[in-house]
Symmetry: C2
Subunit: 155 residues, 2 copies
DNA sequence: GTATATGCAAAACCTTTGCTATAGT
DNA sequence: ACTATAGCAAAGGTTTTGCATATAC
């Protein structure tokens, strides 16, 4: 866990002010849902978040979690990580950054944009395309899954 | 359409030889499914491909299309483009390349790896992570969707 | 008090699976 | 002939929707 409490507090402050700006009610559920998503760097799936959230609000419904995730995506409090096919992966890190994706266990780690030399185009983009942002995805095996370790490990 | 007939023929040659190597039967369905997917640079969804394929084989079933897509992914005749959430997007371009994704209409265009100066790390990757490959996704608005055009266009 | 959000159940959507018949080698 | 594949229908998993009740403002 690289997330400090101070960083989480900052995220929750942003959450509160963004909700007020957008006229979103500060419900207990909404608060807890965002706190779980913002309090980890693991890029949770909705299902996984639901599991955590339910520990705090046993009566919460999965639909509420989904509805709020959608709201958070709409107002820019959350981003979706582009994965292939499977479940939605959520990211409350709003700073420019990239991703390391383990092709085996599907873990996703962040890599700060400062960790990379600027990406630069050689030529020209297709006519008319306006880039808003970009992100680099590194695919490979994480420490847990890389052969060095798995060779001596039961699967 | 940037795909030439010659390029498509090359892809179909690879398809044939890869099937033989792997002991995959060259059925009419399999051939047509791959030809549709390999004959466009639009990164079709399974559903969209099914629509095209059905024009040539009206009796084909969607399950057959899915099964073959999975097979093609397994044997490396196809790759999946990492999108956020929605449907699977397929890519028969096996050369190193990146993607331009329109956030509005979801169109995906290829950008050859030569179009980009090499991506380079400044620091070190998280301990133990072994990169196999990487890809850059540029998000923005395509020519069709960019404000310049939409301002004078009905939605 | 009014608007918005929750919870529930049902639906929608995309993808996979099991099985029998059919086609490829 | 033997093995792999197609087609069908049914199931599986994820996400969305509609509506009545409850909560925030």
């Amino acid at each position: 866990m690289t997330m400090t409490l101070r960083e989480l507090d900052q995220r929750m402050d942003l959450f509160r002010s963004r909700c007020m700006e957008r006229g979103l009610a500060l419900t207990h559920q909404r608060w807890v849902i965002y706190r779980i998503l913002a309090g980890t760097d693991k890029h949770l799936t909705p299902e996984a978040a639901f599991g955590q959230i339910r520990k705090q609000i046993p009566s919460i419904s999965l639909a509420t979690v989904y509805k709020n995730i959608k709201t958070f995506l709409d107002v820019g409090l959350l981003q979706e990580v582009g994965t292939s096919g499977q479940m939605m992966r959520l990211d409350a890190n709003l700073d420019p950054h990239h991703h390391l994706v383990c092709v085996r266990c599907k873990a996703i780690q962040d890599l700060s944009a400062e960790g990379l030399r600027p990406v630069r185009l050689k030529g020209r983009l297709p006519k008319g395309f306006r880039v808003e942002r970009f992100n680099v995805t590194f695919l490979g095996l994480c420490g847990q899954c890389s052969p060095r370790y798995t060779a001596s490990t039961r699967h």
